[in-house]
């Protein structure tokens, strides 16, 4: 529990809590981005450079921008809704406590806590690349297929309106 871990943990929790608590939708997305950056820095603290920087590049650079574009395109002018009833607050609190209890039980009874800290593996990008192309090549190809389908779908959706206008 080093000082940097505590700082990053507080940053992440505060960011994601603010993402749920703020009223303005764009503020929520920006707070979520802060929380995701905190997670990326936690990855970097664990010496996982590839995952950490990819987290920033994908989440902050693509997902957050997608979220703000969606909010911009679909917002109505009356965004300032009053806060919800306290009844759903209690239910939400109970569900959150239950989920936290399950996760805490799972982490506390997992192997890493019993054995203490394992030796930190020195994972280089080259090993990740090797693993992706040898052991995990099928998931890689399926992901590529999925992304291609999404890209084609986006182009078809964008193109459809032009055909109708003709």
């Amino acid at each position: 529990m080093t000082a940097s871990f505590i700082f990053l943990a507080v940053l992440t929790v505060a960011g994601t809590a603010a993402a749920m608590g703020l009223r303005n939708a764009v503020h929520c997305v920006l707070a979520l981005t802060l929380g995701l950056t905190g997670i990326a820095m936690l990855y970097l603290q664990l010496d996982a450079q590839f995952v950490g920087f990819t987290q920033i590049m994908v989440y902050v650079g693509a997902v957050a921008i997608l979220a703000v574009f969606v909010i911009m395109m679909t917002r109505n002018d009356k965004t300032m809704a009053p806060p919800a009833l306290s009844y759903s607050g209690v239910t939400g609190g109970l569900i959150a406590a239950a989920v936290f209890a399950v996760l805490a039980w799972a982490i506390c009874s997992s192997a890493s806590r019993v054995q203490g800290q394992p030796a930190q593996p020195d994972v280089t990008v080259q090993q990740i690349g090797d693993a992706l192309l040898h052991r995990y090549v099928l998931p890689l190809e399926i992901m590529g297929l999925l992304l291609t389908a999404a890209l084609i779908g986006a182009v078809v959706i964008a193109m459809d309106r032009e055909e109708e206008m003709k």
Binding site: Q49, F53, A64, I65, T124, Q126
Partner: protein
């Protein structure tokens, strides 16, 4: 080693030696922190000064290209013009629109400047002169570049103004579209170098066969990659001819319309610093970083070569700005997705073929054909549907 060679080597490492001497006054526990603070201070000072110099260069250069003098009042050849501009932007009133989102409006210029300066941490500016030698250096650079897009959105959204929002959406669409050819053009280098570390990439290029260096730009795929990278870098930093999002004659000033005074200067600074950082990455990936162009010139200190190459690329940026007209938004997007993306993918294929063929003139021929012929065919094919002729202007008499 002769005295002269020893002297040149010490001159080459003078900043490293000076840093070590300064840090020796600190206790050992504080030395990493002190080294980080020293490097950050040096980078900020050097590149902010370079920014001031380049604004002067740009105004004089553009002026001469447009057949007029640039600034020539504020000192010999207008050399103190950047100081006058700085004083002006610091003393202007800071106007924030009444309905603007004050917190986000304040944070956007701060975030964009911070994100643009972060990229310099992985650029090797001289032998042993990189701030942080990350294992995934190039990936860090692109991750940091994507932070700038978020800051652009924050600026455009928080101003609550039509021009700002429109400019921000255009700017983000442009930056995202050109990020794809940018990254693909640099992947070619990563394939050949086998490492994401910028120091390793430069060290691979700092060897010579005869008098010729092993720079990646001197190969067919490297040259195509360099051209694609520079075009994408021009678009990423919203420079002319890709400056529709901030074109003064189109949408006032785009996403920083509602910023005045020092915040405007910060956006301006962030744009130029981002341009220098991307040029620095192009130099690292393609132009051999701090290595000399010929083997008999290696006695010149390495940081001088880096900054000479950087100034050459900046002069090329200014030259292009003064020469080409601005592209429309749809022309911009078509260029990115219909021309540059296929060219970047074909470049990847060419680099793979280069790597697998045995060394010799045959692979030069094959790879050159693989790069040049699709470029011409794609250009012809994309031009085919549009009936482009020479425009004749009829002015009223």
């Amino acid at each position: 080693m002769t005295h002269l060679a020893l002297l040149m080597q010490q001159l080459d490492q003078i900043f490293v030696l000076a840093a070590h001497w300064l840090l020796s006054y600190l206790p050992t526990a504080l030395q990493p922190l002190g080294s980080a603070i020293l490097s950050v201070t040096a980078i900020i000072l050097v590149f902010a000064t370079l920014f001031a110099l380049v604004t002067w260069m740009e105004r004089k250069g553009l002026g001469r290209m447009q057949n007029r003098y640039g600034p020539n009042r504020v000192g010999l050849w207008g050399i103190f013009q950047p100081i006058a501009d700085g004083v002006k932007s610091l003393t202007k009133e800071d106007i924030v629109p009444f309905t603007a989102d004050h917190a986000v409006h304040y944070m956007a210029p701060v975030l964009i400047v911070a994100a643009s300066f972060l990229g310099y941490a992985v650029l090797p500016m001289g032998r042993n002169m990189v701030m942080v030698d990350l294992n995934a250096g190039v990936l860090f650079f692109f991750a940091v570049g994507s932070l700038m897009e978020l800051a652009v959105f924050m600026a455009g959204w928080s101003s609550r103004s039509k021009y700002s929002l429109l400019g921000a959406m255009r700017a983000i669409a442009q930056m995202i579209s050109y990020e794809v050819p940018l990254v693909l053009a640099s992947i070619v280098v990563l394939m050949q170098a086998g490492s994401l570390s910028t120091v390793a990439i430069v060290n691979m290029q700092a060897v010579y066969s005869g008098i010729w260096p092993h720079w990646f730009v001197l190969t067919p795929w490297g040259f195509a990659g360099f051209v694609l990278f520079m075009i994408a870098a021009t678009a990423e930093s919203n420079r002319s001819p890709f400056d529709l999002p901030e074109g003064e004659s189109e949408i006032v000033a785009g996403y920083f319309t509602e910023y005045s005074g020092f915040k405007f200067a910060l956006f301006f600074l962030a744009e130029y610093i981002g341009m220098f950082a991307t040029s620095g990455l192009a130099i690292t990936l393609f132009l051999g970083g701090w290595s000399a162009p010929f083997s008999f010139l290696t006695w010149v200190p390495s940081y001088l070569w880096f900054f000479a190459k950087l100034l050459t690329l900046i002069a090329a940026f200014i030259w292009v700005r003064g020469t080409l007209p601005r592209l429309r938004m749809d022309q911009l997007m078509n260029l990115a997705w219909q021309f540059m993306l296929p060219m970047a993918l074909l470049n990847l294929l060419t680099a793979g073929v280069w790597h697998l063929m045995p060394a010799g003139p045959l692979r030069w021929l094959v790879c050159s054909i693989m790069v040049v012929v699709p470029c011409i065919l794609l250009g012809r094919g994309l031009k085919h549907k549009k009936k482009l002729q020479v425009r004749t202007y009829h002015f009223s008499q």
